[in-house]
């Protein structure tokens, strides 16, 4: 394992009686793309600010390259930030903005010019050096904000919801570009977003947060396939979450039937929740079905139909199907055992990981190839 570049050790932040960060411990390795994902007000930006130095922690340690930096002021930290509203200086040209940090370092002028030109080229705005900030579009300002940060050659780049002000199409483009930029520069990116699609698309590792806590961390695939609890399952992607009961290892009951599943290590008869992603459900003839549902409504989404249905016990089902169904029709649905994911109530991440270890063995290894 490589030496971590940034570590938060049991970091807590409170304002009076209000705690915004609760015992956060996260580790960032060099050269990876990390995402802090959560709804607004969950504390993700506060984590960013403790690393950049704009917010002091109430307790715990912030480590950079193994050294404690709790007391190091923001202007002495080797991290740079791309701010949510870009914060480009309106009284300077594009080139002056990008050069700002370098001129403070009293670097020779020709060297500054060279590095500014390179940074602008990297964000594909090489010709824009003489422009005024208010002449740029939102997407261009976004790139200049990135150029201004990476010209400093930081070891860690912090990005605070940098794409939230862009329209959907531009946002998708920038997702590719940011990912590409991170891989070319080979530095650590810590990206903050409330957009789960963005997080899944770009990250090596995601920290899912809510109410000042990191609920789950892992690769996008891990988090999508094996959410730890109701919140994560609901927040990441779309899902059917149903109450059920564990009947023994690899056996779970819900919707009035017992099914084979891929989860184990949970005491029999413990109440649990079952997650099934809508795209894992297949429509079939009622006689071949695992469950029968009645179609309520359906929406055409372009590449699939989004079907809302109800089973005989009154549970709502969301199904993504390539083929349409008839409203009011009773139809069968099937799924494979591995499509079911069982979640225990109030299980912590360590317990969850430990339980997975007991029966999954080396299955995790193949995820590293992605």
């Amino acid at each position: 394992m490589t030496e971590p570049i940034v570590e938060l050790e049991q970091v807590t932040k409170s304002y009076g009686t209000h705690t915004v960060l609760k015992d956060i411990s996260i580790t960032l390795e060099p050269g990876k793309f990390y995402t802090l994902l959560g709804p607004s007000g969950c504390g993700k930006t506060t984590i960013l600010r403790t690393i950049s130095g704009f917010t002091s922690v109430t307790s715990g340690n912030v480590l950079f390259n193994g050294k404690r930096i709790n007391e190091v002021p923001a202007n002495k930290r080797n991290v740079n930030t791309v701010f949510q509203d870009y914060a480009l200086f309106p009284h300077m040209t594009v080139a002056e903005n990008v050069a700002f940090g370098l001129t403070l370092k009293k670097m020779p002028k020709d060297q500054i010019a060279e590095r500014v030109a390179n940074a602008l080229k990297l964000v594909q705005l090489a010709e824009f050096g003489d422009r005024a900030i208010d002449e740029l579009s939102g997407g261009q300002q976004q790139r200049i904000a990135i150029a201004r940060a990476i010209v400093m050659q930081p070891q860690v780049l912090l990005l605070d919801e940098p794409l939230s002000a862009l329209d959907a199409k531009l946002r998708r483009e920038m997702q590719y570009e940011l990912r590409d930029l991170q891989q070319r520069l080979g530095i650590t990116f810590l990206f903050v977003t409330h957009d789960q699609e963005e997080a899944l698309a770009m990250s090596d590792e995601i920290f899912v947060m809510n109410n000042g806590e990191v609920l789950q961390s892992g690769s996008p695939v891990d988090i999508y396939d094996e959410p730890i609890n109701h919140f994560v399952a609901d927040f990441i992607g779309e899902s059917n979450i149903l109450p059920g009961k564990m009947m023994g290892d690899y056996q779970v009951a819900f919707g009035g039937h017992q099914f084979e599943c891929a989860d184990a290590g949970i005491p029999a008869h413990e109440p649990v929740e079952i997650v099934i992603r809508p795209e894992d459900l297949n429509l079939t003839e009622p006689e071949h079905a695992k469950l029968k549902v009645t179609i309520d409504t359906q929406l055409f989404r372009g590449d699939y139909y989004e079907i809302a249905a109800t089973d005989s016990l009154g549970n709502d089902w969301l199904i993504h199907s390539v083929n349409p169904a008839e409203d009011g029709e009773t139809i069968g649905i099937t799924f494979r055992p591995q499509d079911l994911h069982v979640m225990r109530y109030d299980e912590k991440e360590e317990e969850f990981d430990a339980r997975l270890e007991t029966y999954e063995g080396t299955e995790d290894d193949d995820l590293d190839e992605t």
Binding site: N75, F89, P90, A132
Partner: protein
């Protein structure tokens, strides 16, 4: 529909239009017109030739500009740090109100108060005696004139600077620090340039009225400094030379326009102007 909205707009324009005509355009036209008449009501350019050939008037003009400049500089030196400090306070609206309060009191009352404070037996001299310096001539000096004028102008400088600081997004300060700037570098390269419009507005609000101060020059400055304001008053009320008084008025108006142009909004940096 179109005509209705148009008519409505016209209706709202009436008070402003009247004000503009009666109190801006008419006085300006009158002053300009008057400045071409001699004492015996004949059309003449002699007022202007006298003004620009007379050493007395030129010296007066220089005096006015010089003292207005001094007052503006001192006001600025006190106001910027004050506005900056006030802006960082918790109950800043309240503290700002305390700065604004004195402007609600008539300027003459304040001037008379200072006569009391600066007089031979006044508070200032009592204090100087107490610390062993002994009574000094404070009233009717240039220093006391500048002091009182600065005191009166400070709120008009603090307000626009305070508002500019208020409009400044803290994100700029964060960004500056994030890029490695110290507190002083952030101030010099980001905060001050971005609040410069506030300083300019303050300079306009202070420098231009200071050009024509005349009550203070008499009451506090003891008429040692004769400014253009004093000269205008003398010509209209004492020598009854309205033509000359108007000519000086025209010069003052031109000076004001120059100051406004100098402190006005500059084109945005780089590229094509909007």
């Amino acid at each position: 529909m179109m005509t209705l909205t148009k008519r409505k707009t016209w209706f709202y324009f009436i008070p402003y239009g009247l004000w503009l005509a009666l109190f801006v355009i008419a006085p300006l036209a009158l002053i300009f017109y008057q400045s071409f008449f001699s004492l015996d009501h004949h059309f003449t350019f002699s007022n202007y030739t006298t003004y620009f050939q007379s050493l007395t008037y030129l010296k007066m003009t220089l005096n006015s500009v010089w003292y207005a400049l001094l007052i503006t500089v001192f006001t600025g030196l006190i106001s910027y740090p004050t506005a900056y400090f006030l802006h960082g306070l918790k109950h800043r609206q309240f503290w700002l109100l305390l700065v604004i309060l004195p402007t609600w009191i008539n300027i003459l009352l304040k001037a008379y108060a200072f006569i009391g404070i600066f007089s031979q037996a006044g508070l200032a001299n009592q204090f100087l005696s107490f610390i062993g310096i002994g009574p000094q001539q404070i009233l009717f000096t240039n220093a006391s004139f500048i002091f009182v004028a600065t005191y009166i102008q400070i709120p008009f400088m603090i307000l626009p600077i305070y508002n500019a600081l208020d409009d400044l997004s803290p994100a700029f300060i964060n960004a500056s620090q994030d890029l490695g700037a110290s507190g002083w570098q952030t101030f010099r390269r980001v905060i001050f340039p971005l609040t410069l419009p506030g300083v300019k507005a303050g300079v306009q609000a202070v420098f231009i009225p200071s050009l024509s101060l005349f009550m203070l020059t008499r009451l506090i400055g003891g008429n040692k400094v004769i400014t253009l304001g004093t000269a205008i008053e003398e010509h209209f009320l004492t020598t009854m030379n309205w033509g000359m008084g108007s000519t000086i008025g025209v010069v003052l108006i031109v000076a004001m326009v120059i100051v406004m142009l100098l402190t006005g909004d500059q084109k945005p940096k780089g590229g094509t102007p909007r």
